[in-house]
């Protein structure tokens, strides 16, 4: 009863104040009413209100009061208040009352008000609200309430307001936003406030009172899901990792906080945290055994971050796996991870169909997890690992991508040496590049030395010292070096002469006639003679065109079947150069021979690839015009020769001066001074068909030794590349249109080939078709295919796992569009003219 009357009294007072404020024009009345309202918030109670009344006011009337004030923000009495009064009486009402209600009213008001002086006023109140750490009070007030006293809707709204404050203000205030409302600053502030709330929680817990962390956890989750996990956790994670180092209460609070994060937001919080903490130890201190207690967390840590996503740094992998390995309870999870990662690594379909970056990521995870295994675990896993490793090695080595092969080799080596199969281990030869080195380093440096923040303070000192000492030693080195250097100086002016002619002597003389050369290549058993013959073969072919034409096919046959019996240096290059020279010299018969041999029986893959290479190089050589400088005027060559050797004679000196004069002089008629490019016939255009069409003939006829559409996709990829090259070089050739149609038909069958090299080749070929085919032919001859091709290209550009394929597809689309546009414009222009 008494309670009821007290409530009524408070209500009456508040209503009276409202009425006064709404109607009275008297300055004194207004101030008095505001003071009355303020007295209900003031705890330092010189006022005449009881604590029960104040409680009632806070609970029921506070929001109403604030709303009333905001709605009257443009009224006269407010403007008539002095600045001090306004600050003490009006503004304080917002800052002193329950922070959750104040924040809600402020945010609503900011959303609703038009830009005006009133809005500015509210914005500065909000700023003051944030600066006076009311957010911490807000969060803390929710920590104290063990059971939620308000409705879930209200909580939800409040969460939304807290997490989206920068967005709300930005929507309204842009571009006059205060720096404090910018996301970077606000979320750092929010993180500090959350830490303050946690700190208070710890203190309270030590005092023996219970607290609830669910609202804090919800705030954290909400902020993270909105994409601000970076700035928030960048502030929180280091502090948490330091605080949990020795303090059990802090540890418990952290664990509780993360357990309370709602399931739907768990993932973002965890991923953010994993990236923000400095290492596995910090992570285990902060999240405890979350991976065991929470199914979602377990899935995220053991599966999603390792196998489904691959954008994270290696450090993240180290943190996660180190976390799993750190505790005895969590070790079963590590073993489970090793199993699943090794299976993912070895999966042949994954090797074929996932992007290289992901495979690299999985390989890293695999190596890291294996390196964390103990001997006892290894005993248990040995057979599984071995099986996965061997299967995985095979599928990796089958791949036509060098990076994947390297990955397979590195992982195979590392795992086999770690698993220790009776002391045997694999050893491969691969090029040590950045990537393989990084992979190798993962196995050795698994003892994560965590950079500790506590020690961070004195570390700059150390580095400063070491750097200065390093500098000293460098300068010492320098002085050491200069002393004997002065002795050497006088020697440096002896300019060396050209010593390129200083070759090894050989006893036998090189053959002078092409037929002798061929004879040597066929029958000689003398390593030296064969080598000499190989060395001169190309120049002999090029010099004696008629002799070469007589024996071109025979010589090509010999070279194609030749083996490097004597380990001649540069064997492949010499052989190839000679074959190219033969093809260029006697184009039609040799290409006929080579193209038929490409599909015939009993050749090794290497030989077939050689055929393709030779044809491609020959086509390129035929396509390049015979340059004047090279063949026609030896004088020019001599000139260039001279420029390489200054100080030689006065001729050169004069040239240098002339050059300098020319460079300093502005030539008005620049065009005339340079001789026009001399037109010369394209030697490739008339024979393009000989290179191109025979290679399309038998591709779908599998031989016993050669299955182009089956397992020999390496050759297929190269074949398509080569065809694309022929097409590209055939620009402006009369044959180009037919070639383009045929090539598009050909690649259509293999456009979704599983091997990415083949797909790349296909896209390259398509590119070159669009580049080289005359645009009118594209529209006329390919009209029925164009639509399908476009959809296919768009599909590839969007969804191919290989980045090169995507960009090539994009390029083809652009080329196609350009070509079509040009053609359509031309047609329009023609029709307009006519």
């Amino acid at each position: 009863m008494e309670q009821g009357s007290m409530n009524a009294a408070v209500r009456l007072t508040v209503t009276q104040c409202f009425r006064t404020l709404a109607s009275s024009a008297d300055h004194k009345d207004v101030v008095a009413a505001l003071q009355t309202l303020n007295s209900h918030l003031d705890d330092a109670s010189q006022s005449n209100t009881t604590s029960a009344q104040r409680e009632e006011f806070r609970r029921v009337h506070y929001s109403r009061t604030l709303q009333f004030l905001v709605s009257n923000i443009h009224s006269d009495w407010l403007h008539s208040l002095s600045a001090a009064h306004r600050r003490d009486l009006w503004d304080d009402l917002f800052v002193k009352g329950p922070p959750d209600q104040a924040l809600l009213v402020l945010m609503d008001a900011i959303t609703e008000l038009r830009s005006s002086a009133g809005l500015d006023h509210l914005v500065s109140i909000t700023e003051r609200f944030l600066q006076s750490h009311r957010l911490a009070d807000l969060l803390w007030s929710y920590c104290l309430r063990s059971a939620p006293s308000d409705s879930p809707q209200l909580r939800e709204t409040l969460l939304g307001r807290i997490s989206a404050l920068p967005d709300i203000t930005a929507n309204k205030l842009h571009p006059n936003i205060r720096p404090l409302f910018l996301p970077q600053q606000y979320y750092s502030l929010l993180a500090t406030e959350m830490l303050t709330a946690l700190e208070r929680t710890c203190q309270t817990l030590r005092g023996g009172t219970d607290c609830s962390l669910s609202f804090l956890a919800q705030t954290l989750g909400k902020v993270c899901i909105q994409g601000h996990s970076g700035p928030v956790l960048a502030v929180m994670a280091p502090r948490l990792s330091v605080c949990t180092r020795s303090d059990m209460v802090w540890q418990r609070v952290c664990w509780k906080l993360l357990e309370n994060v709602p399931q739907r937001w768990m993932e973002v919080v965890l991923t953010g945290l994993v990236q923000a903490v400095s290492g596995p130890d910090a992570l285990s201190r902060v999240i405890g055994n979350l991976a065991l207690t929470n199914k979602t967390a377990q899935f995220i840590l053991t599966h999603k971050l390792l196998l489904l996503q691959y954008k994270y740094e290696t450090q993240v992998l180290k943190t996660i796996l180190g976390y799993l390995a750190a505790d005895r309870d969590r070790r079963p999870l590590l073993i489970q991870v090793v199993r699943s990662v090794s299976q993912a690594w070895a999966n042949p379909s994954a090797v074929k169909h996932t992007p290289v970056e992901q495979q690299l990521y999985v390989s890293k995870a695999f190596l890291l997890s294996v390196s964390l295994l103990k001997d006892s675990d290894l005993q248990e896993l040995r057979s599984d690992l071995l099986q996965c490793m061997l299967g995985g090695m095979q599928s990796h080595l089958d791949s036509s991508v060098v990076r994947i092969r390297n990955m397979g080799m590195v992982v195979g080596e590392c795992v086999s040496s770690h698993v220790d199969i009776n002391g045997t281990k694999l050893k491969f030869e691969y090029e040590k590049d950045e990537e393989t080195r990084e992979l190798l380093s993962l196995m050795t440096a698994n003892t994560c030395d965590e950079p500790e923040l506590v020690k961070g303070a004195d570390s700059p000192d150390d580095t400063g010292q070491t750097s200065t000492s390093a500098q000293e030693s460098v300068s010492q080195n320098k002085s050491d070096k200069t002393n004997p250097g002065s002795d050497l100086d006088s020697d440096d002016d002896l300019t060396p002469y050209d010593m390129s002619a200083d070759q090894k002597m050989s006893r036998a003389s090189s053959p002078r006639y092409l037929r002798d050369c061929l004879e040597n290549l066929i029958s000689s058993d003398d390593a030296e003679r064969v080598e000499l013959s190989l060395r001169v073969a190309e120049s002999l072919v090029r010099r004696n065109v008629f002799a070469a034409k007589e024996i071109s096919v025979q010589m090509t046959k010999v070279l194609l079947h030749m083996e490097d019996k004597f380990n001649t240096s540069g064997f492949l290059r010499l052989r190839q150069a000679t074959m190219v020279a033969l093809t260029v010299t006697d184009c039609v018969p040799v290409t006929q021979y080579l193209t038929t041999e490409f599909y015939s029986l009993n050749y090794s893959l290497r030989q077939r690839l050689d055929i393709l290479e030779v044809l491609a190089l020959a086509a390129q050589e035929l396509y390049t015009p015979i340059t004047d400088a090279k063949l026609l005027t030896p004088g020019a060559a001599a000139c260039t020769e001279l420029t390489r050797h200054p100080k030689n004679d006065p001729v050169h000196w004069r040239q240098a001066v002339e050059k300098r004069i020319q460079s300093k002089t502005k030539c008005i008629s620049k065009g005339a001074s340079q001789p026009a490019v001399k037109p010369c016939p394209n030697r490739y255009a008339p024979v393009a068909g000989y290179f191109f069409f025979p290679l399309l003939r038998n591709y779908d006829k599998p031989e016993v030794t050669f299955d182009l559409l089956g397992s020999d996709h390496l050759v297929l990829g190269r074949l398509i590349h080569t065809l694309g090259l022929f097409m590209h070089l055939a620009v402006n050739a009369p044959m180009a249109a037919q070639m383009g149609c045929a090539l598009l038909d050909f690649v259509w069958a293999v456009r979704y080939h599983a091997d990415q090299m083949v797909r790349r080749g296909v896209l390259f070929a398509v590119c070159s078709v669009f580049l080289s085919m005359p645009s009118q032919n594209i529209l006329l001859d390919l009209s029925d295919q164009l639509f399908e091709t476009r959809t296919w290209l768009a599909d590839v550009a969007e969804g191919d796992p290989d980045a090169d394929c995507r960009s090539l597809a994009m390029q083809s689309l652009v080329l196609l569009d350009k070509s079509l546009k040009k053609q359509l414009q031309d047609q329009q222009a023609q029709s307009l003219e006519s």
Binding site: D491, L494, D498, M499, A501
Partner: protein
């Protein structure tokens, strides 16, 4: 930036045999001369002004001439032939008279070494009858000074170099032997000072720079081996220089100590910086093994020449790194 490969400034032909040895005499006012000893036993005296053979001395009765030299003080020519004789010739006023001859008894190819101790006296070191034995005599008195025989088994003596230290010690002798060893002998003490195995193959030639106390030796393999003498007169092996083709028949350091020339079995003369042993040039002209190289002793450094004698019976003359400032 490298300069184009150099060419010989002129060649001398007509020696009628392989050129085993070359010797310049260009310091006086007289016509500058080049002496060459051929495999047919004749010594040609080339006038470098007319570029013709001024005189041909038929010495050693048709046996190959392995070494020629002249005395600074008098117009005396010394030649060594495979008839086991060392002969002294008087060249005064266009004569070519045999003054003396010394029987060495050596059947090897080891060239003698000459050291002038005073204007009238000089020491001559030569390989003696026993294959590993070196004899030193004083000329013109022909008094034997000593005989040096190594105690260890090192094989035939291949090349020797007699020189005098600045430190006041008596003349020292460097000798290369068949098993690749280098020995340093003290002539006055008749004792071995130091020994080192410089090559796995016989030492074919050596040369020594007394100013730097540094020498270099060549062999039938692909590398030159350089070495220094330390203060205790120990031979210390230094860097190796690897050649493109094996075999060196003679090494020669220019008087100013800047460059080193090697006569290669691969028909080429190679020039190295003597300080750093950096290869500087490859002189290609000859069509057969180069057997000898020599630098001229012109007083004006700009006129200095390099001569190379080859088995193809020609002598090529080169002007290389000649201007005083060394501007190529």
């Amino acid at each position: 930036m490298s300069l184009p490969a150099p060419h010989p400034i002129y060649t001398l032909r007509g020696a009628g045999g392989a050129l085993n040895t070359l010797h310049f005499r260009c310091h006086g006012e007289d016509p500058h001369l080049l002496f060459s000893g051929s495999g047919k036993g004749s010594i040609h005296i080339w006038n470098l002004n007319s570029r013709r053979a001024e005189k041909v001395v038929e010495a050693h009765s048709g046996s190959s001439v392995t070494w020629v030299s002249t005395l600074q003080s008098t117009d005396t020519l010394i030649s060594q032939g495979r008839d086991m004789q060392v002969c002294l010739w008087d060249l005064n006023e266009g004569r070519s008279e045999l003054l003396e001859s010394v029987w060495t008894g050596s059947v090897g190819f080891c060239q003698c070494s000459l050291l002038e101790t005073s204007p009238t006296n000089y020491l001559l070191a030569f390989a003696a009858q026993q294959t590993e034995e070196i004899k030193i005599i004083e000329l013109p008195s022909k008094n034997p000074v000593c005989t040096l025989t190594p105690k260890a088994k090192v094989g035939m003596v291949m090349c020797i170099k007699l020189w005098k230290t600045n430190s006041g010690l008596g003349p020292l002798l460097l000798a290369g032997y068949e098993d690749g060893s280098l020995l340093l002998w003290d002539v006055t003490q008749r004792a071995k000072l130091s020994q080192v195995r410089a090559h796995p193959e016989p030492v074919m030639c050596l040369t020594f720079d007394p100013r730097r106390l540094r020498g270099i030796s060549g062999s039938s393999e692909k590398k030159l081996s350089s070495w220094t003498l330390d203060s205790q007169n120990n031979i210390q092996l230094q860097d190796d220089v690897t050649l493109v083709n094996p075999g060196v028949s003679q090494l020669c350091i220019r008087e100013d100590g800047r460059i080193l020339a090697s006569a290669g079995w691969d028909d080429r003369v190679r020039i190295f910086s003597w300080k750093t042993l950096r290869p500087l040039a490859v002189l290609q002209y000859h069509t057969d093994m180069v057997l000898s190289v020599a630098f001229s002793d012109h007083q004006d450094p700009r006129q200095r020449l390099l001569a190379a004698g080859s088995k193809d019976q020609r002598i090529s003359l080169w002007s290389i790194y000649n201007d005083g400032a060394g501007k190529g």
